[in-house]
Amino acid sequence: MSSVDMSMPILIVDDYKTMLRIIRNLLKQLGFNNVDEATDGSAALQKLRDKEYSLVISDWNMEPMSGMQLLTEVRADTKLKNLPFIMITAESKTENVIAAKQAGVSNYIVKPFNAATLKTKLAAVLGNF
């Protein structure tokens, strides 16, 4: 029996509409249907302050506010600081992963990724489903 609420609200953040659609579809296939989208960190932050989300899945390289800046803002916000935050990004240098980890990212997926990796990381952050 899954302990994960499959109707949990999830916010996905990416400046590429293609990637938003891929993540949305993969989440749908995994059973998550309550998904909202934002195309940069500042729009995402606004949504996070307007509505209670259970998970953020964000790209890194976006303008005007990057995923890293969003993560920093989230961890500095008393209401949002414990929100699970997964980074999905093409930034695949060790220094990037370390910086994200130090900033408090919950998990890190490098693009291109597959559905199995997404499922594994979701399970690591949310629990098995």
Binding site: T18, W60, K101
Partner: protein, 219 residues
């Protein structure tokens, strides 16, 4: 006059010339040296003559280089070639994005039909659809790679502009430098980000770390 004094006079005249004109034309350089040499005629040393000959040779070299660069039409690089290349690359991103969304429409249509399929067949179709979604990630990655190339072209454009400025207006037909080499703002005009130094984009396989390596960092 001592060589040091000659050098000082040349330096002073060049500095004055640069203040007035902003840059030093090789012709002016020769003129300055000749003026100094004329003023010290009579006490010219062998070293002084050598300095003069060297500077004259340098000026000739610069003039030849300038003529060769002018023949290359460097202003065309900035006014035509680089913008055209940038536009073409941007069009590629747009076209692949459009094509990818067309694929999505088709695949999402097929996915909607799986409810009407035999469960075993539906499962196989769903697995195939997942593979299509995963593969469509190419558009995001190629888009980012192309953006890196466009950024590199913009840096070249800025270098060519600097070259045109250094060699004067006769090599340059239009405009001031378009983009500074070091970005202090993002392309949208927003201030540069604090994580600018970490924005490397997609890496070539030999430079990237794997998902397994990343996972190891989280253990």
């Amino acid at each position: 006059m001592a060589v040091a004094a000659v050098k000082d006079r040349i330096a002073a005249q060049l500095e004055e010339l640069q203040k007035v004109k902003g840059s030093i034309d090789p012709e002016n350089l020769v003129g300055v040296v000749e003026a100094v040499i004329d003023s010290i005629e009579g006490d010219m040393t062998a070293v002084g003559l050598k300095v003069y000959a060297d500077i004259e040779a340098l000026a000739r070299y610069i003039n030849t280089a300038r003529a060769e660069i002018a023949d290359l039409r460097p202003d065309d690089i900035n006014s035509t070639h680089l913008p055209a290349a940038t536009d073409e690359l941007t069009a590629i991103v747009g076209a692949t994005e459009q094509a990818t969304h067309t694929i999505f429409e088709a695949v999402e249509g097929i996915e909607a039909l799986t409810a009407q399929m035999d469960p075993e067949v539906a499962s196989q179709v769903s697995a195939a659809i997942t593979s299509v979604f995963e593969a469509c990630g190419f558009q995001d990655i190629t888009g980012q790679r192309i953006t890196k190339v466009v950024t590199a072209l913009q840096k070249i454009e800025s270098k060519v502009d600097a070259l045109l400025n250094a060699f004067g207006d006769d090599l340059k037909r239009d405009g001031a430098p378009r983009s500074p080499e070091k970005r202090t703002t993002t392309p949208s005009g927003a201030p540069a980000r604090p994580d600018e130094h970490l924005l490397n984009g997609p890496q070539l396989p030999e430079n990237a770390i794997s998902q397994d390596d990343i996972d190891a960092l989280f253990k």
